[in-house]
């Protein structure tokens, strides 16, 4: 789960990491009031969306798609500029390298004081899968795309692996400071911020905290100039405050509803809907559809114990997508019985008066009963014996890959 920069900075501030004064705004009036309040000669006017690359993005009009402005993060030197920039940002669509061509409508703005920057650093905390621990990653090359740094100058990325049972140790902080060339007052300031960030990471169940750039000011203070924070959704049960931090407008409506009913759904751009049990098999089903010339419309895992009702909900979610021209059901029954799935499929097809072609592949527990139930119905359901056959059938039924 991702949160906005302004929310991330409030959290950093709470844990004692220095951030600049700033205000969250949802209108041009609020942005101007923020400018008046901040009393800073220079302010940054920053689009708030859950995607990176905002500074280098482009804003478009939501209907006409005409270009409005280059850059979703602007430095304003006057009240007039704040007005121009916030007008150009709010309500328009920001397209960045991470949003895809559709872009995202900007509904939130952050107006922040300026500061005198001496140097920009990169800092991230994340769970490292290889070491099965928390990893701190830092670089002197702040403000740049870290993937680019990793590819071209990997020696400029410094890593500290934390033993969670020992915590972040003093020498680890000092080593990192030395590697980054920090000394004196900035060394102490960096060390304090690092401790605070690690505390935040662990206590808030973060999945990733990325500060790019983390800056050293001309007065030798370490300040978080950006904040990209995401949480581990598995830990939601112990963080009641996440409900307030969640921006539902940043998530696909149908994906939220799927989660609420215990299904896992991700919308894609193709036209063949998929209904599968198990995440791995659901991915493999998409892959095989593509292999035989089709395009999957979604990822949908109904889980290991879906009942008739969930199957019905899953079908209705697939059919909400107007691009769907056919559906492939692929079930390997383990705990889930094929006869129950077959009944669910029939009930759903009837209830939704499904008109698009439907291919059903069943395997595993009670497969023969399941197949009989499908065969006995007079609905237009095409059976398949394995995944490849199922994919080929649905692709040919919807008329190939045109």
């Amino acid at each position: 789960m991702n949160i906005h920069e302004y929310q991330g900075k409030a959290m950093l501030r709470e844990f004692g990491v220095p951030v600049l004064e700033g205000q969250h705004c949802t209108s041009v009036e609020q942005a101007l009031a923020a400018y008046d309040n901040l009393n800073s000669k220079v302010v940054a006017v920053k689009s708030q969306i859950h995607a990176g690359g905002r500074g280098k993005g482009t804003l478009y009009h939501p209907q006409t798609r005409e270009e409005v402005m280059q850059g979703g993060v602007k430095i304003a030197f006057s009240r007039d500029e704040v007005e121009t920039y916030s007008t150009n940002i709010l309500g328009n669509v920001l397209v960045t390298i991470q949003t895809g061509d559709e872009g995202k409508v900007v509904k939130n703005l952050y107006v922040e004081s300026g500061c005198d920057i001496a140097h920009e650093y990169y800092l991230a905390l994340l769970v490292d899968r290889d070491n099965k621990s928390v990893l701190i990653m830092a670089s002197t090359e702040g403000g740049m795309d870290i993937e680019h740094v990793a590819e071209h100058t990997p020696e400029k990325i410094h890593k500290v692996i934390i033993d969670v049972n020992a915590g972040l140790l003093g020498f680890q902080k000092r080593d990192l400071c030395l590697a980054l060339g920090l000394s004196g007052m900035s060394l102490r300031s960096f060390g304090k911020s690092l401790t605070a960030m690690y505390e935040m990471f662990v206590s808030q169940d973060c999945a990733m905290v990325e500060i790019n750039p983390l800056v050293k000011s001309k007065s030798d203070e370490i300040i978080a100039l950006d904040a990209k924070i995401s949480f581990d959704e598995n830990a939601e049960f112990r963080h009641k405050n996440w409900d307030q931090l969640r921006d539902l407008s940043e998530e696909e409506d149908v994906e939220i509803r799927a989660k609420e009913t215990g299904l896992s759904y991700v919308k894609l751009d193709g036209n063949i809907g998929c209904l599968v049990n198990g995440a791995g098999l659901a991915m493999a089903t998409m892959d095989v559809i593509k292999l035989y010339g089709g395009e999957p419309a979604n990822f949908l895992d109904v889980g290991g114990g879906a009942d008739e009702e969930q199957v019905k909900t899953a079908f209705s979610m697939i059919m909400e997508d107007p691009n769907v021209k056919g559906i492939l059901v692929n079930i390997f029954g383990g705990i889930m019985r094929c006869d129950i799935i077959a009944r669910g499929v029939i009930a759903a097809t009837e209830a939704l008066s499904l008109e698009v072609p439907l291919v059903v592949r069943l395997a595993g527990t009670n497969v023969e009963q399941g197949k009989k139930i499908l065969a006995a119905s007079d609905l237009n359901i095409h059976p398949a014996n394995d995944l490849a056959e199922g994919a080929q059938k649905i692709v040919s039924l919807i008329g190939g890959d045109e």
């Binding site: 290889d130 099965k132 928390v134 870290i146 830990a235 493999a284 292999l291 383990g334």
Partner: protein, 307 residues
């Protein structure tokens, strides 16, 4: 032989009085797994009925292992408590007999809880953790066998193919594929789809390589991380037995979590393409589609003079 779990392994069930634990414990007994009891704090001294037989329940794992001399335990405990339950099992096996296998089925454990639990288990070198968020491990026998987890037992048969996978249903798919060419399985392991887990691909490959019953291996990965690439590099140097590989998620969009918490392409890393390429580099025979695993395996067995 088989790996880690013998056909007659003595197995405890943690969370045996819960709905999930009770249901699956019954299925395991039905399959023939040697269940010796369970553990639910606060319910020690009670018994649980499975398939018409009564099984004892203990308050603590130390007690349960001391009395039953169990070889393994399987965990069906909700996510908020699962990591601690893993640690309890690890400590009990370590202190009572110095070894044991802990299999955690639970899905949705917070990642930082698992970071702690894995570090804790790794401090007890005789203890092996499988999972979490996995179907478990099964060693089919001539009659029955040891099914420890949630997989459908009836699709398996004893044989010489070792299977290791991140995904549950894709493991079943691989099992069915081996059966379609008249091959059974030595041991099938689901290592789970979480970013931080216990046993990984490499340990499974090494164990299969050393297991006289296993003649060939099927390895199934998915997008996210680089465990598959490391396993491929390990296999190239250390595994002489034929391996068939598949990776799920070639069509997954970057940055989206595909069901499993670990199945996410981040920063352009961990793609299926990258993993397939690593497999090919290592001489692993790749199936483009899970329905091809059988035929690719058959060819690999023939090439190795095993069919």
């Amino acid at each position: 032989m088989a790996i880690w779990i013998e056909e007659d392994a003595k197995v405890l069930v943690q969370g045996i009085t819960g709905k999930q634990g009770h249901f699956h414990a019954g299925k395991m007994v039905e399959y023939g797994t040697n269940i010796v009891g369970g553990c639910t704090p606060g319910k020690g001294g009670q018994t649980v009925e499975l398939e018409g037989k009564e099984f004892p329940v203990w308050d603590s794992m130390t007690e349960a292992i001391t009395v039953t001399d169990a070889d393994a335990t399987v965990i069906y405990v909700p996510p908020p408590f699962a990591a601690e339950v893993i640690m309890e099992a690890a400590e009990a096996f370590d202190s009572v007999k110095g070894e044991g296998v802990v299999i955690c089925i639970t899905e949705g454990i917070p990642t930082l809880d698992m970071v702690k639990a894995v570090a804790y288990v790794n401090n007890r070198p005789g203890v092996r953790l499988i999972g979490p968020n996995c179907p478990g491990i099964i060693t089919p026998g001539e009659k029955g066998g040891a099914k420890i987890g949630i997989m459908p037992g009836h699709i398996h048969a004893k044989g010489r193919i070792g299977i290791v996978s991140k995904s549950g249903t894709l493991t079943y798919e691989a099992v069915a594929q081996t059966m379609s060419i008249d091959e059974g399985q030595s041991t099938c392991i689901g290592i789970g789809g979480d970013p931080v887990n216990g046993t990984g691909f490499i340990e499974c490959l090494a164990a299969f390589e050393n297991d006289p019953q296993t003649a060939a291996i099927v390895m199934i990965g998915e997008i996210g991380g680089n465990a598959e690439q490391e396993a491929a590099a390990f296999a190239a140097e250390n595994v002489s037995k034929p391996i068939v590989g598949f990776v799920a998620g070639a069509t997954a969009p970057p940055g989206k979590r595909m069901g499993h918490a670990g199945a996410i392409i981040s920063g352009g890393k961990g793609t299926a393409e990258e993993k397939f390429e690593a497999f090919k580099q290592a001489g692993i025979a790749c199936a483009n589609d899970p329905s091809e695993i059988g035929s690719v395996l058959l060819q690999a067995l023939k090439d190795a003079g095993l069919r």
